[in-house]
Structure formats: C-alpha cells, structure tokens
Amino acid sequence: MKIKVHNDICQGHARCAATAPDIFQLDDDGYILPGDIEVKPGDEDRASVGAMSCPECALEIEE
C-alpha cells in the first residue's frame, strides 16, 4: 500500500500525524514532509485512517 502525498494541498492540520505519527512525518511547522509514503505491512489500517482524516484530502490511498 502506498500513500500519495499532495504537498501543494497540505495546509498543516496535522490530523494524519495525530493518528499515526510514525507513518506521517511533519516538518517543524506541522506540514507533511514531501514524498509519497510506502506503508509497511501491518500498518495499513492506521495509514488509511490517517489519510482519511485529512480535511484537505491531501493524502491519496493507492493500493
């Protein structure tokens, strides 16, 4: 599973990291770091919930 990160849409709500700080890493201001995220096996559920929590829909889940 992969999460496509749309940095241009991220507005620093930090909801993804509130769900799974180890999966979604933020910069010092609370915006997601650039680069798509390869989700480790076993982390899929938390990654999905984190991505779904984004009010901007900046995190796209790719199976």
């Binding site: 849409i9 507005q11 620093g12 709500h13 930090a14 909801r15 990291a17 509130a18 933020l26 010092d28 201001d29 609370g30 999905s48 919930v49 779904m52 929590s53 984004c54 009010p55 901007e56 829909c57």
Partner: protein, 403 residues
C-alpha cells in the same frame, strides 16, 4: 435588509440565515448547529438575503465537498474583507486571515512557528496548570458553577494573556472587550474595537522599547521581504490574535461540557478512559462547529449552477458541512470514537486556523482536567442554557451541578 441583487435568480433565494433562521437567535436549550444543518435538506448552493453580521447577503454553499473547493481556491474566492476595520470605518486587513496568496504565505510562514504543534506541546504544562487552578477554585466554592463565566472564558482569555506575556490582573477587562466586540450592540462593538486597537498599538510600542520573549515582541521584530513590519501590519496581526482565539475556544468547551452533562454514558466513558478524549473532542468539534468562513468572488463564476458575480459573498459554514451525510455517516449522531473524521471546524485551504493546534490542546486539556476533578455532573435543575447562532455560535447560562 439589502435588496436581492438582480443577477440572483429568484428561485435560488433560500429562506435561511445563520443570523435569523429558527434556532439562531438566543434560544433556551437550543441546538443551533442542527438548526443550521437543516440547510442540507435544500440545494447545494442558494442565496441568503441576510447572512453576515453587517446584514449582507451571501451565497450559501452547503456540501462539504463544495466548501472544500471554494476554500481551496483563493484565486477565485478571496478573503480580503477588512471585517474588523470596517466596524471602525477603516479598511486594513487582519493578518494573515484577510490577505490572499501569494502574499499570504509570507506572513503565514513567519507566524507558523509560533503556533506549531511543537510549540504548543511546550505550552501544554502552563495550559494544564491554568485549567487545574480554575477548576480547583470552582470546587472549593460549591457544587455548581456557570461554566462559561467561571471556567471556559477565564481559561481561554488567560492562555491568550500568557501568550501576549501579560499578567492575569486584566482578565476581567479583556473578557469584557471580547464580549462587547463579539456580542455587543451597534455602539458597543465599535467602541470595543477601538479599545482593542489602542491596546494592541500601545503593547506593540511597549515591546519595541522593552523587548521580552513573547508574541508581540516577535511581531515587532519580525521582517518580511527584508524590512520590518509596519504599524498597520503589526496591528492586523495583533487584532486577529485577539478576536480569533477567545470566543471560539470558550464556546467549544461550553458545547462539549453541555453535551457530556446531558449524555451521562459518554461522560462516564471519557471519565473512565481519558485517553479517548483526544478523539472524542474531534467529534464534538465536528458536531458543534461555531464559525462560518466567508469569501468574496474575484470574478464572475458559475458554481454548481449559481451565477456568482464578482464581489458576491460566498459563505462556507463549517457547522453545515460538518453534518453533510455524504461526508459523515450518521452525521447527526455523535460517535465519540469516530475515525477518519475530516471535519472542517478549523476551515480548509490556506487560511486553515493558524491557532488550531493550540485550540485543540486547550480543549483537550480543559476536558481532561474537568473530568479528572469534577464529580459526575449534570445541568443544574431549574436552569436552562441559552444557545445562539450568528457570527460565532455559542452558549451561555450553562450551569452545571455535581451535588
């Protein structure tokens, strides 16, 4: 009331207003968010003839997805409104709220570090101590209290004062200004606005002369594009801080405690499992959102069939979108464990509430400390809280009892 503009098709005018619809005026035991969300039974977008505090009409965008499109498109839907200054007959922007991209990013990146998740974590101990002191005082003086007057407002204002590097002794005065500004009549409002402007100006002047480690010192020393901020920019930033963080946080705490007073099982759940509060407060932020975002069209645009004209106001009320059934399953039911809760209580787009991280922490800490210290509570018999809609939704007369 202003006439309906000629370009608005009569069939697109809706009988709805966040200020005058049923449940928006002060209402005993009301549910203003549910009342506002009744707009979801209507079309995706319609025109409301009276939907701002100064009596203007707006388009009303009801669906969560459409609101996101408006708020994420600042080129078409501008934030430049000068709402605070206009109360004084002036026209300077609150910063960064009323500045559009690309200039917005200059101010935003300057201010972001002051309210980042990391910075808020460092403030937490002080926030928690403040909540504890206020609650212990309440417990020492009896078995009931007025939540807004005795806890929510003093708590929010206190944290604001601390942020500004000011002591508590002016707390009452600040609460008064904030109340008059947000809920006062046509005379009180401009008077409070002028008082706040004078206060911010003199505080900025003082911090220029005697810098300390606080917000206003940071602002008067900050630079953009290689120059210090001018007086109007400093004022625009200071005023926004004042108006944005007081009422909103206090109202959220009030609505949450009222809900928990009326839903004993949920109260018991959070009391037993305080770790659930972090997620539960998100659900309560969703269900009890308090603000509407208003944008101004920068060009003529057709939006879901609405012929929006340049200069038209477009309202994105968070309390409507946050009950959109296409976005949230069973939106009118509170599910304190709701996951993937992408509510927009703090807006979306570049103007996402810059204080959201602090506000979230304040609300969490308030609920944690309240539930840890106050015995099982309910609405005091013979009292009725009053709720209201409008510019910032709120609640007053919320008397809780734990005798």
């Amino acid at each position: 009331m202003r006439p309906i503009p000629a370009h608005v098709p009569p069939e697109m005018v809706g009988d709805f207003s966040l200020f005058t619809s049923p449940g928006m005026a002060p209402t005993p035991n009301g549910d203003p968010q549910a009342s506002a969300a009744a707009a979801l039974e209507g079309p995706r977008i319609f025109y409301s003839q009276m939907n701002t505090r100064d009596g203007r009409g707006t388009w009303v965008v009801t669906r969560a997805d459409d609101q996101r499109r408006v708020l994420q498109d600042p080129e078409t839907f501008s934030s430049h409104r000068s709402i605070f200054a206009s109360a004084l007959g002036e026209s300077w922007p609150m910063i960064p709220l009323e500045i559009d991209p690309p200039r917005h990013a200059l101010y935003r990146s300057m201010l972001n570090p002051l309210l980042s998740p990391k910075r808020v974590m460092a403030m937490e101990e002080a926030v928690r101590e403040r909540a504890a002191v206020l609650i212990d005082k309440i417990l020492a003086s009896g078995t009931s209290c007025d939540v807004m007057d005795d806890f929510a407002f003093p708590f929010a204002v206190n944290i604001f004062l601390r942020f500004l590097g000011l002591s508590d002794d002016r707390l009452e005065e600040f609460v008064g200004w904030a109340n008059n500004l947000l809920h006062g009549d046509d005379e009180q409002r401009p008077r409070a606005a002028r008082t706040i402007v004078e206060f911010i100006r003199s505080l900025a002047e003082e911090r220029r002369r005697n810098p300390v480690d606080d917000f206003m010192t940071f602002v008067v020393q900050a630079e953009i594009e290689g120059r210090p901020l001018d007086d109007q920019e400093v004022l625009g930033i200071g005023v926004l801080l004042f108006v944005a963080g007081l009422d909103t946080v206090a109202a959220a705490i009030g609505f949450d405690l009222r809900y928990l007073a009326e839903h004993r099982q949920d109260q018991e759940l959070l009391r037993r499992e305080p770790a659930q509060i972090v997620l539960a407060k998100e659900e309560m932020l969703r269900a009890f959102s308090t603000v509407q975002m208003i944008r101004v069209a920068t060009r003529d645009v057709d939006f879901e069939g609405a012929p929006i004209k340049k200069g038209d106001y477009v309202s994105c009320a968070s309390m409507i979108a946050n009950r959109d059934p296409d976005e949230f399953e069973n939106p009118d039911r509170l599910d304190l464990g709701r996951i993937g809760n992408r509510h927009t209580a703090f807006a979306t787009g570049p103007h996402r509430c810059i204080g959201s991280h602090l506000a979230r922490r304040e609300i969490e800490v308030a609920l944690e400390e309240w539930l840890a210290r106050v015995p099982p509570f309910r609405i005091k018999e013979g009292t009725t809280p009053i709720t209201y809609g409008g510019h910032v939704f709120g609640i007053e007369g919320l008397v809780l009892d734990w005798s």
